[in-house]
């Protein structure tokens, strides 16, 4: 029986000493972590997408708490959680927050298979980065979408895909959280994070071709040729033409859509606007757009009834 007793005493003594050492160490070397960091982390979406510019949600939480201590949350925004999450975080930290406007990824290329003829066949590794390093790609445009989907792979929210019909990346506005991963993945810098705009309405130049007019025109039917018509038309000074390429500043743009109408190459695109209202002074034209729509709407209904 002795040996059992000895074992219990020895092990008990070791345990006791270890406990004392550990207790002392935990007191002596305690690292204070602001409990708010954990609370903020809880509020953040936890996608670790890096859209905020930090390595993950933990880094962002840390930065938010530090920002709150320094008295300002400026420049910190979780694009995934948006205004909701940022509002909650601000409440928790007792800060007022200037709500960042929601943004969305915009693919600035409209060089579909129809608009941009293929002049070569690429046989190498099918990633945009490899194709971009190899040359202009399968079309004559050295700036446009390569369609291999590096952005699709980068997106953690299943919000971007390559449309097989056009061969161009398309963003699903509902799913896009504007984390910017796709913009970083695109070797040609085609994807831009733009202000979503009221009711999702926005006007942008859907081209990044910096070639001079004739070269750009040859490469693609809907390329910006840098003619500057839109720049002259814009009453708000929102459009600048640099390196043969127009850019619409989303902060200055008032969504009047005048530039869209003057663009000879239809490179300026306005999205989520209601269909143009028929002009009242010309009743014949006003009926026309409506009349083909009506039978199209009715036909399937008739068929349904016939089937039933």
């Amino acid at each position: 029986m002795d040996f059992i007793l000895i074992a219990v005493i020895v092990l008990g003594a070791i345990a006791l000493i270890a406990a004392v050492v550990l207790f002392a160490a935990s007191k002596k070397f305690a690292v204070y972590e602001d409990p708010r960091i954990a609370q903020v982390s809880e509020l953040l979406p936890g996608a670790n997408c890096g859209g905020c510019g930090f390595a993950g949600c933990g880094g962002m939480a840390d930065a938010l708490v530090k920002g709150a201590d320094a008295g300002s949350l400026d420049g910190l925004n979780c694009p995934v959680g948006g205004a909701d999450v940022m509002g909650q975080v601000a409440d928790l930290l007792g800060m007022a927050i200037a709500n960042g406007e929601p943004k969305v990824a915009v693919v600035r290329c409209n060089g579909t298979c129809e608009n941009r003829p293929r002049i070569a066949e690429y046989a190498g590794l099918r990633t945009c980065a490899a194709m971009h390093a190899c040359g202009a790609g399968e079309t004559a445009c050295g700036f446009g979408c390569l369609g291999c989907g590096d952005c699709v792979e980068a997106c953690q929210f299943d919000a971007i895909r390559i449309n097989p019909e056009t061969g161009i990346a398309e963003v699903d506005e509902e799913k896009c959280v504007a984390c910017g991963a796709c913009a970083k993945a695109c070797p040609r810098g085609i994807i831009e994070l733009r202000k979503k705009g009221p009711k999702g309405r926005r006007v942008f130049v859907s081209c990044v071709n910096k070639d001079k007019g004739p070269a750009a025109m040859k490469a693609c039917q809907v390329s910006c040729i840098g003619c500057g018509k839109c720049e002259k038309e814009c009453a708000f000074g929102a459009i600048t033409v640099e390196n043969n390429l127009a850019y619409i500043d989303p902060e200055k743009c008032r969504l009047c859509r005048k530039c869209e109408k003057v663009c000879p190459k239809h490179a300026i695109i306005a999205v989520n606007f209601p269909a143009p209202k028929p002009k009242p002074e010309n009743p014949a034209n006003a009926e026309n757009p409506a009349s083909p729509a009506n039978p199209a709407n009715q036909q399937p209904i008739e068929r349904k009834e016939a089937a039933v």
Partner: protein, 455 residues
């Protein structure tokens, strides 16, 4: 005969030297010549002409844009049409100078006679003088990499040159431009070598030639014995076993003097060797002795389906289309157009790309032959490991590049890759090994540069 080769890896693709016996023809002058400002490694050249300027053959049209750079000379006489952009060998539109060709008037300073000048007859040629003439003539490596020659001749103070190795390996399939140059201008090449040795202050020279060019080996051996037999120089023609990529600097140094160049940033001169292409030796001769800047070169235009493939002495700035037309026009059907040979050549999407300083060949491969096969899973057969001339593990580098593990890629020495393509050539599963490794290499090099810039 003692036949050497490099010790690690290598492959032997089908040679297809179709134009082996085709004597060099002088290509017709183009109607319009196009000069990309970036024809060499380093900073792009800066234009010194403007629209409407008259230029002659040999007029400088763009000056060196930095230390690692080279001036560009017009190869035609005529009027500068404009400074614009055009598609160059990178596949992208880059700044170019376009000249409308009128007549063929040369700068008076250029000696156009065929008389062979010797180093003995020109005591004014000190090493510094040779290097400065080479620099001013815009001479760059003619093998394809286009590194400014004068920099190679002035090694960093930490390294000491011991020998000059002339690279006449031409291990790429199809290309025969260097072979024809050796057959047609052996004396000039040897004077060029003597100039290079004098400039580098060494008295040992080697000329590495693969044994599929026996006539050149015999001819040059004979000429070397005549010229250097009784001189203070030790020059040797080294026959080499056919093996790709023997024309790579590091492989050639290993094959000829049995020394291994360490991993980057080490260069061949760190083990005592200055490697110059045979075309560069010829260009050095012309630049120093004939005051002729670098504006024409020997180029092979070849392809199995081309009606009359041939070797050309071509003025730079000539569009490839002109040369292809001179060979019977582009074959029907799909073709793959390469600037360079099939192993390392750059695929192009336009036949209007001009011949530049580094265009040693225009190769046309039929679409069927060029098309890649469907990649299969890697079975770890390690054929790529055996083929890699740099002793790397291509399957591993390709995989870690694919999954973007850049730290690991750097540890595995991805920057040592010379992009010769032996791995992809040898892969029985047709995997795009080099495509992936190139991505990894350029990313890792970017990371290294960024790190160095931070310090």
């Amino acid at each position: 005969m003692n036949i050497r080769t490099f010790r690690i890896g290598g492959v032997h693709p089908e040679e297809n030297k179709l134009t082996h016996d085709a004597a060099t023809q002088v290509a017709a002058l183009p109607k319009q010549a196009v000069y990309p400002l970036s024809q060499h490694i380093g900073a792009p050249a800066k234009p010194v002409v403007k629209k409407g300027d008259k230029v002659k053959v040999g007029t400088m049209i763009a000056e060196a844009g930095g230390f690692v750079s080279a001036p560009i000379f017009s190869a035609v006489s005529g009027t500068v049409l404009k400074i614009d952009t055009a598609i160059d060998a990178t596949g992208y539109r880059k700044p170019v100078i376009i000249i409308n060709v009128e007549g063929d008037e040369w700068e008076e300073s250029i000696d156009r006679s065929d008389k062979l000048e010797t180093v003995e007859a020109h005591p004014e040629l000190t090493p510094e003088e040779i290097i400065s003439r080479v620099k001013d003539a815009g001479v760059v490596g003619m093998g394809g990499a286009c590194f400014p020659t004068f920099i190679k001749l002035t090694p960093p103070p930490t390294a000491k040159a011991e020998c000059v190795i002339i690279n006449a390996v031409e291990c790429e399939p199809y290309i025969t431009a260097d072979f024809r140059l050796m057959m047609e201008h052996p004396d000039e090449i040897l004077v060029g070598l003597e100039l290079l040795m004098k400039a580098a202050k060494v008295n040992t020279g080697y000329i590495g030639i693969e044994t599929n060019k026996m006539p050149a080996i015999e001819l040059l051996s004979e000429k070397v014995a005549q010229k250097f037999g009784a001189s203070a120089y030790h020059v040797e023609v080294v026959p080499l076993k056919q093996r790709y990529p023997q024309g790579g600097e590091k492989q050639l140094v290993d094959a000829v003097i049995r020394r291994q160049v360490p991993a980057p940033p080490a260069i061949p001169v760190n083990v005592g060797a200055i490697v110059q292409n045979v075309g560069t030796a010829f260009a050095v001769y012309e630049a120093v002795m004939k005051h002729k800047p670098l504006f024409e070169r020997y180029t092979t235009v070849t392809g199995k389906r081309l009606a009359n493939p041939g070797n050309f002495l071509v003025r730079m700035g000539t569009p490839m289309q002109d040369l292809i037309d001179a060979c019977g026009g582009m074959p029907e059907g799909d073709n793959k157009l390469l600037a360079g040979g099939p192993m390392m050549g750059k695929a192009l999407t336009s036949t209007e790309v001009p011949i530049c300083k580094g265009t040693n060949s225009v190769t046309i491969i039929s679409g069927d032959e060029a098309r890649r096969k469907e990649p299969q899973p890697c079975i770890r057969c390690a054929k790529c490991v055996g083929a890699c001339p740099m002793g790397l593990e291509p399957y591993l580098l390709a995989k870690i590049s694919e999954v973007k593990n850049w730290e690991r890629a750097e540890r595995e020495d991805i920057v040592s890759c010379i992009e010769c393509g032996s791995c992809q050539f040898t892969c029985p599963a047709h995997r795009p090994l080099l495509d992936n490794i190139r991505q990894g290499k350029s990313t890792v090099m970017g990371i290294i540069r960024a790190r160095a810039a931070k310090k």
